[in-house]
Amino acid sequence: MTRPAPETRSVIVEREIPHPPEKIWRALTQPHLIAEWLMKNDFKPAVGHRFNLRGDWGGVLDCEVLAVEPNKSLSYTWNFAHDDAAFNLQSVVTFTLTPTSTGTHLRMEQSGFRPDQKQAYGGAKQGWQQFLAKLNQVLARVD
């Protein structure tokens, strides 16, 4: 696994799933299945394949497949272009599947965020209204 540069940070989400790796692998790599749990896409499990993930909020992520190891690991870039550098996102998503006695340990690591990268993917659109709503509550406590 590649070690992120020291100035970047990662998000790691792990979960025990009561299904075998082969089945989860299908959900991670077949476009119609990916669309059901993640986003609409034109994914192909081939290293170097470029594809888009299209979010409900209208944002489009630019992705490229970096590594494919069937039933074990899958890695692709997860980039979001934005005019404002603070919202620009260049990251790598890596799924790792490890068989367990009851199913699979699924691990997702998203790495490459810069420390000044406070907003996640398309947050400019999605997080903004929510943020302004929360801001009022936060600020009420500041005084």
């Binding site: 940070r9 998000v11 989400v13 979960r15 799933i17 299904h19 089945k23 989860i24 299908r26 959900a27 299945l33 059901e36 749990w37 993640l38 404002d84 550098a85 603070a86 919202f87 699924l106 997702m108 998203q110 965020f113 000044d116 990268q117 406070k118 907003q119 996640a120 993917y121 947050g123 400019a124 997080g127 903004w128 943020f131 302004l132 801001l135 009022n136 936060v138 600020l139 500041v142 005084d143």
Partner: protein, 107 residues
């Protein structure tokens, strides 16, 4: 000890300043005049609020002829937004959906 967060919170703690900032976020660059027209305070008051917002890095001004144009600097809000928990929350909810899908794939 003063820090960037203090000036940011102080600038946004006032409802009039917050309204000015939100308007710039929503409607883009504007002159002091057009901001005043829709504010409930005088032009000197609007200018004073804008100066404080500028001090906090929340707005930027640009001179064009005799007019001063202000625009919001979303970047200045970055310290207030915790992207790691936001992104982790995103993946947790997607994994929930993944599990729903996997159950359905059995049938």
């Amino acid at each position: 000890m003063p820090n960037a967060h203090d000036s940011l919170f102080r600038a946004l703690a006032d409802p009039t300043r917050r309204a000015l900032f939100e308007r710039l976020c929503r409607d883009g660059e504007q002159t002091v005049g057009s901001l005043t027209a829709r504010a409930k305070v005088s032009q000197p008051a609007v200018s004073k609020h804008l100066a404080l917002l500028k001090q906090a890095g929340l707005v930027r001004d640009r001179h064009e002829g005799r007019q001063k144009h202000y625009s919001a600097q979303l970047r200045a809000l970055a310290p207030l937004i915790d992207w790691t928990s936001q992104m982790a929350g995103f993946w947790q909810s997607r994994f929930d959906q993944l599990e729903v899908l996997l159950k359905r794939m059995d049938q």
